[in-house]
């Protein structure tokens, strides 16, 4: 049992508390400590990904045996998500150092708590701890949404907090129902117990399970639960939103984890109901996202709706629990997280260099047009899914995985048609921003210096999508191995507690 498994949870916790207690007013030192801590986190995550190739490993906190104590489980899927979190976290942190962290108090502390909650949600092997880590993550994200203040953030923040409190209440109802019928909340134990339930308990289990998936759907911004996302993501500070790119993926991760581990065998019809509901919902999410991109009148709206659209594409692959589709969806998940973060950071830089018209998609003068236009072109190419960047590889992999299935025609036509809509939307926004001559002196921030650090961070994120595309084969092999592992829950259950597989007395 490697103690490194618990490090992604305790490292941000100690860093945050250290910053809060030791130098809460010394921003320079906070920046340095946060950077060192996040780099260490990234190194740990990469090491854990290497170690995860040996199969699932459990970490029993306090060394209590499995269904009684708190358990953290490392497998390929959680390790992949940890690496992604650390990568996006590092980019967001570097971007925040350009000045965003100074617009309010405790940015770095909240940032580390957000990393703590996200990492915990990926590692935990227990439904109630998943709730607790969700809450840690959300509490930190409330602080980050409000960072910088202003009427807009307060109003959007209120809506965001309210919708998430309702979702948390639903989560607790689901947890209560599932505990009430099975008597356990440990996911590996649940996977065993769920199969042994009498038919009389199936209705309650089904209600609990579907409520749980509703909560995850809120986190993923699945239509019709998507409307909180544009309001929140538009109002929150750019580096926070870059980190939130991973927040919506936590919902997708939870759907994949709980579906494959606990409900893969269609007990009480949970899996078949979920598959039937998730596919059309994901398809509509993608269509709504694409139409939103096309209809947006601001760059922030465009970026928000493209996040919604990418969640739709991702969940289309997740819906069927088919190994090839899931593997392609995981590749797309990595891609869409990186590009989502890059997109919001780029919108922030573009809006800052356009003065008063900021992020509106309207004619206006813009500073540093060449560099920003080039970055926008690359970002759009990746986000829409044109070759040669990773969006193309991801979409091709998803399209290919649907070949020969029962929903091929629907999936292909929706993905291809929405790609066209996205392309038109991005092209329209880009040509308005960079090519239309400005009618007057509207716009252009006065004498701004070239935002070198911000541009470097965005270029780094775009470079990582290029790397993801060049090494597409290896990454897809990794996601395929991940999917093989999660679709055989026996090894996961065995890792958590060998005693669990035997039927109880």
């Amino acid at each position: 049992m490697s103690h490194l498994i618990v490090l992604p949870v305790i490292l941000p916790a100690f860093t945050a508390v250290l910053m809060l207690l030791a130098f809460r007013n010394d921003r320079d030192r906070q920046r340095r400590v946060a950077l060192v801590s996040t780099l260490a986190l990234a190194a740990t995550a990469v090491w854990l990904l290497v170690r995860a190739a040996d199969g699932p490993q459990a970490y029993l906190v306090g060394n209590w045996p499995a269904p009684f104590g708190i358990v953290l489980v490392l497998d390929r899927l959680s390790a992949l998500m940890l690496v992604l979190t650390a990568g996006v976290g590092l980019a967001a942190l570097l971007y925040s150092i350009t000045g965003w962290d100074g617009r309010g108090r405790h940015f770095h502390v909240l940032f580390q708590f957000q990393l703590l909650g996200t990492n915990g949600a990926f590692l935990t092997g227990d439904v109630f701890n998943l709730f607790v880590f969700f809450e840690v993550m959300l509490i930190a994200s409330y602080g980050l949404v409000l960072h910088g203040g202003g009427a807009w953030r307060l109003k959007a923040g209120f809506q965001y907090v309210a919708i998430n409190l309702v979702a948390s209440t639903l989560f607790l109802f689901a947890v209560g129902l599932i505990y009430g019928v099975t008597g356990t909340l440990n996911m590996a134990d649940l996977a065993v117990k769920v199969g042994q339930l009498g038919v009389g308990d199936h209705a309650l289990l089904r209600t609990g399970a579907l409520l749980l998936f509703t909560v995850f759907a809120v986190k993923c911004a699945l239509v019709p639960l998507h409307w909180w996302l544009p309001a929140t993501y538009s109002a929150a500070p750019a580096p926070a939103v870059a980190l939130f790119a991973i927040l919506s993926k936590v919902g997708a991760y939870s759907i994949i984890r709980v579906h494959t581990l606990v409900f893969s065998e269609d007990v009480a019809g949970v899996s078949s109901t979920l598959t039937t509901l998730l596919f059309p919902a994901a398809a509509i999410t993608l269509v709504v996202g694409a139409i939103g991109v096309l209809a947006s009148r601001s760059m922030l709206g465009l970026a928000s709706y493209s996040i919604i659209g990418s969640m739709g594409t991702l969940l289309i692959g997740v819906a069927g629990l088919d190994p090839r589709q899931l593997s392609a969806a995981l590749y797309y998940l990595v891609h869409s997280t990186l590009i989502g973060a890059a997109l919001f950071l780029l919108v922030d830089v573009i809006a800052a260099s356009r003065g008063r018209i900021a992020d509106r998609i309207a004619r206006g003068r813009i500073s540093h047009a060449r560099v920003l236009g080039g970055l926008y072109l690359i970002t759009a190419v990746a986000a829409v899914g044109l070759p040669p960047l990773s969006g193309f590889v991801g979409k091709i992999a998803i399209l290919d995985s649907f070949r020969g299935g029962s929903v091929t025609v629907v999936a292909w036509s929706i993905i291809l048609a929405t790609s066209l809509l996205l392309l038109v939307g991005y092209a329209r926004a880009g040509s308005t921003l960079f090519w239309m001559p400005a009618p007057s002196q509207i716009g252009r921030a006065d004498a701004r210096t070239f935002p070198a650090t911000s541009v470097a961070v965005i270029a780094g994120l775009l470079l990582s999508t290029a790397v993801l595309s060049v090494f597409g084969g290896s990454v897809l092999a990794l996601t395929a191995a991940t999917v093989d592992e999660i679709l055989t829950p026996a090894s996961y259950i065995q890792a958590v507690g060998p005693a669990l597989t035997q039927p109880g007395p």
Binding site: Y95, T98, G99, W100, G102, R103, F128, V132, E135, I139, Y142, L146, G148, G149, G150, A151, W152, R153, L154, K155, A156, G157, F158, Q159, V161, A162, L165, V166, S168, T169, L172, F173, V175, G176, L177, Y179, G180, A231, A235, A238, D348, V349, A351, A352, S353, A358, D359, A445, R448, P451, T453, S454
Partner: protein, 123 residues
């Protein structure tokens, strides 16, 4: 007693849902509190309704009540308490910043800062 507990949870949930659907921030906040009361009671009852039983197995008494839901409720109460405090502060600050307790975002609210640098202070 089952009927009493079940209808109490139902009532609290109904009141909570109604208030959460209001447009002003104060009713929404109170509605969220009602929802959290309802869910706490619900979690409690998921350990089965047992009266006057200790939450521990002891040789003297054969019957016991499940301690785990009580631990879950304790965690849920702490979290919902903190969240209620937070949302009250957010609602109050929003009211002070805009002069209205409307939960909707108006076009005039959407004035903000972009890019790096210290930025200008926003009120």
């Amino acid at each position: 007693m089952e009927l009493l507990v079940a209808s109490a949870i139902g009532m609290l949930t109904a009141v909570g849902v109604y208030l959460v659907l209001r447009r002003r921030t104060l009713p929404v906040t109170i509605g969220l509190s009602f929802l959290s009361y309802a869910v706490n009671l619900f979690l409690f009852s998921m350990g089965r309704l047992a009266i006057d039983q200790p939450p521990i197995i002891s040789p003297e008494r054969m019957l016991y009540t499940d301690p785990l839901p009580q631990a879950l409720v304790l965690t849920a109460i702490v979290i919902s308490f903190g969240m209620t405090a937070l949302i009250v502060v957010v609602a109050l600050r929003g009211y002070l910043a805009t002069g209205s307790d409307d939960a909707a975002i108006r076009a005039t609210d959407a004035v903000r800062d972009f890019g790096g640098g210290p930025g200008r202070p926003v009120t």
